[in-house]
């Protein structure tokens, strides 16, 4: 819609701007959430940094996986475009889990307890990022007549002059609702495993259905379902298992590095 904003001589990309705004707002929201859940804000922020870096790597790798068959035919311009665009959220989520575990292992912390406040604020940052997708015109929806369809005029990515369903805004709304649900869920007590389970279950279900409304081509389709839908199908039972298992179990013990000591070489 507005992929670039011109402020006098300076041109800013709205996609990057909204992602930075989303990260900044999520980081601000993390402070009261950490206080309420009795976690160190500094550790949660530092862990989020590790998770973000790993998320960027995971997100890009999964995108490259989805476009693997087309990669040999890419032109130089398309290869250059890969440096800025082409991210898959689920790849980022899987990478972020790796980054969070790495941080907690390095500094001997309980991963799930520290992940809980980050999971609560994650949908807020993600929702603002999705508004950035809408502004840039990426991750667009299927053709749909007005008033639900919005016609883009100057998008570099989405087809112009065709009314498209704003699936990015629908996902942003779903994520804001999820954020509100997670804040309410953790209002009284801390229950890290269930919070994570609730997030994974609801987001995976929402994403599975929202993917049906998407129209962008480069998403890797197998047996009629996109890569993100396959990952959603795998994550839904995992999320339900986390919700049902309560606060005990293998995962909680395995990811608690508070008393962990690295093995020394003999």
């Amino acid at each position: 819609m507005y992929p670039l904003i011109h402020l006098g001589p300076i041109t800013l990309g709205t996609y990057g701007l909204m992602i930075c705004l989303g990260v900044a707002l999520a980081a601000l929201a993390l402070i009261p959430v950490c206080r309420r859940l009795g976690q160190s804000t500094q550790d949660a922020l530092f862990m989020a940094v590790y998770a973000l870096v790993a998320a960027a790597v995971g997100s890009k790798l999964l995108y490259l996986f989805t476009v693997l068959p087309q990669l040999p035919d890419y032109t130089g311009e398309q290869w250059a475009g890969l440096l800025s665009g082409g991210w898959v959220f689920y790849g980022g989520l899987l990478g972020a889990v790796g980054g969070a575990v790495l941080y907690c292992r390095q500094f001997h912390l309980d991963t799930l307890a520290l992940v809980e406040p980050v999971v609560v604020v994650l949908p807020l940052g993600h929702a603002i990022g999705r508004v950035g997708c809408f502004m840039a015109g990426c991750c667009y929806g299927c053709p749909c007549p007005p008033p639900w369809g919005i016609t883009l005029r100057n998008s570099f990515i989405a087809p112009n002059d065709i009314p498209l369903f704003p699936v990015q805004l629908a996902e942003a709304a779903a994520l804001l609702l999820l954020f509100a649900a997670l804040v309410l869920f953790t209002r009284r007590h801390s229950h890290p495993q269930r919070t994570l389970g609730l997030y994974v279950t609801i987001y995976a279900m929402a994403r599975f259905f929202l993917e049906m409304l998407r129209y962008d081509a480069d998403r890797g389709v197998w047996l009629g379902l996109s890569t993100s839908q396959w990952i959603s199908l795998a994550l839904i039972p995992l999320g339900i298992a986390l919700l049902c298992r309560g606060e005990s179990g293998f995962l909680r013990k395995k990811l608690n590095f508070a008393d962990w000591a690295p093995k020394k070489n003999q």
Binding site: L12, G13, Y15, Y50
Partner: protein, 90 residues
């Protein structure tokens, strides 16, 4: 202690370099990479021994990453727009 001071100094230097990178178009990509390295070094320094220099390195690296990310995406979008405006060769 000395090691954490070295890490903090490295973080601050990388933060400064990555802020400068934003003024060089595609150099912003280098700025993002250096900013991330600076940020992780700053976090390690602050966890080992909290210091003003480590905090400065972390803050500067975060600012550099944000500014470079916005600048880099705008830069790529501008090149895309330029390519789209070129006449098609049949």
């Amino acid at each position: 202690m000395n090691n954490s001071k070295n890490l903090a100094t490295a973080s601050l230097v990388l933060g400064i370099i990555s802020v400068v990178c934003v003024f060089f178009g595609y150099g912003a990509l280098l700025g993002i990479v250096l900013g991330i390295i600076g940020l992780i070094l700053g976090i390690n320094a602050k966890k080992a021994a909290p210091s003003g220099m480590a905090t400065a390195g972390i803050v500067l690296s975060i600012i550099a990453i944000a500014v470079c990310a916005i600048g880099f995406i705008a830069c790529v979008a501008c090149v895309g727009m330029l390519a789209a405006s070129l006449p098609a060769v049949s």
